[in-house]
């Protein structure tokens, strides 16, 4: 038994840690979807941009300045993307906004490719969370333990914000009925901006945790975690925050279990097969609200 735990603990730890990082990205997807009914494909690239911001700022600035600056940069980027690429299309068909989102995603990727020359950059070491710790017999980085805790704390705070503040109430109202809440005097644009700000903030935190573990930053290194977080959001029920978090942890852990049993080649295939299954058999996901057609 002890041997079994010893052999498999590292897989589980990696799964929980990567799950927490997916969760922080998935919340950004699910919140934007809940309010705008838009899948923000550029979210994974905002996540990568946060990592690059950190790499470049840390080259010249001390850590206690570069960390908050990175978060501010990411939030501003998310806000700008919304203002420039999505707001002008608010009354356009939903498909147009989605195409715009895909466009922004490629634009960001190629901009990063152009600016950085496309070579892998080493992510700076953030003290303390980069320390190694030993649990039983498994050695890992501190960040592996911190990620799930920090994720849960942030999610609890977010749920409080949504349930107990005025802006939270406005967000809930907008997600229920876009038009009516506008008639009730809610400033839709502000609510949407706040949603993007929160999503980008969490992506920035997620990126710090993710790249502390996996230290090479390339223009496409956010694409895969972004896609998997998207699958997690769909799996948990897109639009639901607890759903996204639970979905992300399940995907993170399942991925590592699949690698543990030796099917390494199929670990990505599993995630996307899961997406297809969910879409066929339970399109609303684990916690998604069932929408009734109103006549």
């Amino acid at each position: 038994m002890y041997d079994f735990i010893n052999a498999n603990l590292p897989y589980l730890l990696a799964g929980i840690s990567v799950g927490g990082q997916y969760a922080l990205i998935a919340i950004g997807y699910t919140m934007v979807y809940g309010i705008l009914r838009l899948i923000n494909f550029a979210h994974g690239d905002v996540f990568t941009a946060a990592a690059y911001a950190m790499v470049y700022m840390n080259a010249t600035l001390p850590l206690y300045i570069s960390l908050p600056l990175t978060i501010i940069f990411t939030v501003v980027l998310g806000y700008t993307v919304e203002r420039v690429a999505y707001k002008p299309l608010r009354s356009a068909p939903r498909m147009s906004i989605m195409i715009s989102a895909i466009g922004v995603s490629y634009l960001l990727q190629n901009l990063m490719w152009y600016i950085t020359g496309g070579l892998a950059q080493q992510y700076p070491t953030i003290p303390w969370i980069s320390n190694t710790v030993t649990i039983l017999t498994a050695t890992t980085k501190m960040v592996t333990l911190i990620t799930p805790v920090l994720t849960l704390v942030l999610v609890l705070l977010l749920v409080q914000l949504i349930n107990h503040t005025k802006i939270g109430m406005a967000m809930r109202a907008v997600s229920k009925d876009f038009e009516t809440s506008r008639l009730m005097g809610i400033k839709i644009d502000n609510v949407i901006s706040v949603t993007f700000v929160i999503g980008s903030f969490l992506a920035a935190i997620g990126s710090m945790l993710y790249f502390t573990n996996y230290t090479a930053v390339t223009p496409t290194s956010g694409a895969m975690p972004g896609l998997k977080a998207f699958v997690a959001a769909v799996f948990g029920g897109i639009g639901s925050i607890p759903g996204a978090v639970i979905g992300a942890f399940i995907i993170g852990i399942a991925e590592n279990i699949i690698k543990a049993v030796g099917l390494t080649t199929f670990s990505d295939a599993f995630t996307f097969a899961l997406l297809i299954f969910v879409l066929i058999f339970k399109p609303t996901g684990l916690f998604g609200e069932v929408t009734h057609e109103k006549v």
Partner: protein, 394 residues
């Protein structure tokens, strides 16, 4: 007065071009087909640096009808097999007499048909997969091959670490990784060892699960001949997970990226390569000295080398590749593609990485590899041994 001034100005501008026209009989284009971005970008840039240094040392080539200036044209194949053909086509269209590259076997294989159709001779510099030259009559190469490299490393694992179980890790669908892991496994099994092999998909950044599998399989060496981008992930995560199993890899890992990632850790990393920086032979020592001075003169070149002046083996090979191309031009006595294709097989050259001559496949006849080990305190490579074929019981 104004007219007179402008006349002087025009003359002053014309003068250099006239001087150029007098000095050279013409211009010959050598194409550089290398990745400058993507997973192999770092290595590609080092190889390209070697070529540019060679061009700096020998900017012209003397043929019977005069001295020609060599012009280098560079394309970026982005380390990607599907972007490779259009990059190769660009070199063919821009009138390259001969092409050098690429770092990474996959892109070389992908471009072979394009060079063949254009009738351009290509000289592979560090692409070690047999498929590069096999069935591609115009593709030549100056480095050793993976069956040889795999055998060398398998023997090294056996001799140095007394290993009986090995774990191989390769990128799914990457010709170089998968090929080299295959030849290593074959040789290691022939020596009586046992191998567990796994592959990871492109875009993987979490290697914890693979490393755990390696530990659980009871492997005594990990063989991970991946590109440097994944290598730095593997190294940092192996260090974070407290892995003590020695790691072996092929020529791609001979890069300062690896040294940077391994600095300050307890990992044991051994790599087979083409060239040893500490080589005391006259040609090699002179190359190292000149190349370092050339790098240190220009911050941009230094940055392309990874921000330090450690000489990568691929830079030395890149230097030799350019010199072999010049020999080919001299032997053909023209910059015409067909003339070069007719005579290139006869080229011989004493390079800084050793003597180069081609066999019937267009591969260099190489029989030795250098094995180096990372020194994690000083972030430098330590020379371990030269392994030649004769040392290995075939």
């Amino acid at each position: 007065m104004k007219k007179f001034l402008s006349l002087i100005l025009i003359l002053a501008m014309l003068l250099p071009t006239m001087a150029l026209a007098e000095d050279y009989a013409g211009e010959i284009v050598i194409g550089i087909y290398e990745p400058a971005s993507g997973p192999n970008g770092a290595g590609g840039k080092q190889e390209t640096l070697g070529i540019y240094y060679a061009n700096y040392v020998a900017p012209t080539v003397e043929l019977s009808d005069g001295v020609y200036k060599v012009k280098l044209v560079e394309v970026d194949n982005q380390s990607s097999n599907d972007k490779a053909p259009s990059a190769a086509q660009q070199l063919v269209s821009e009138g390259s007499s001969i092409v050098l590259g690429s770092y990474g076997s996959g892109v070389s294989i992908a471009a072979a048909d394009i060079f063949d159709a254009g009738g351009v001779v290509a000289i592979g510099i560090s692409c070690t997969n047999p498929q590069v030259t096999l069935g591609n009559p115009l593709y030549y190469r100056i480095c050793y091959l993976d069956p040889f490299q795999g055998t060398v490393l398998a023997n090294f694992a056996k001799d140095e670490f007394n290993a009986t179980k090995a774990y191989t890790l390769a990128q799914l669908g990457n010709d170089y990784d998968v090929g080299l892991a295959h030849y290593f496994s074959k040789a290691f099994e022939e020596l009586g060892g046992e191998v567990k092999g796994e592959e990871f998909p492109l875009g993987t950044s979490d290697f914890t699960a693979y490393l755990t599998s390696a530990v659980n399989s009871g492997a005594e060496v990990i063989f991970a001949p991946t590109s440097t981008e994944f290598a730095s992930q593997i190294i940092t995560q192996a260090a974070a997970n407290g892995i003590t199993i020695p790691i072996l890899a092929g020529d791609t890992w001979d890069s300062s990226v690896i040294l940077k990632a391994a600095e300050g850790t307890d990992l044991s990393i051994s790599v087979s390569t083409f060239f040893d920086e500490g080589d005391t032979g006259a040609a090699a020592a002179e190359f190292v000295k000149g190349f370092k001075a050339w790098l240190n003169d220009n911050p941009e070149k230094l940055a392309n080398n990874g921000g330090n002046d450690i000489v990568a083996a691929v830079s030395a090979l890149g230097y030799d590749g350019y010199m072999v191309a010049l020999e080919a031009l001299k032997l053909a006595d023209s910059g015409d593609r067909d003339d070069i294709a007719d005579t290139v097989a006869e080229v011989t050259y004493e390079g800084v990485t050793g003597f180069i001559a081609f066999d019937e496949n267009g591969d260099a006849k190489r029989d030795q590899a250098f094995i180096i080990k990372s020194d994690n305190e000083t972030a430098s490579w330590k020379f371990v041994k030269v392994q030649s074929v004769s040392d290995i019981s075939k």
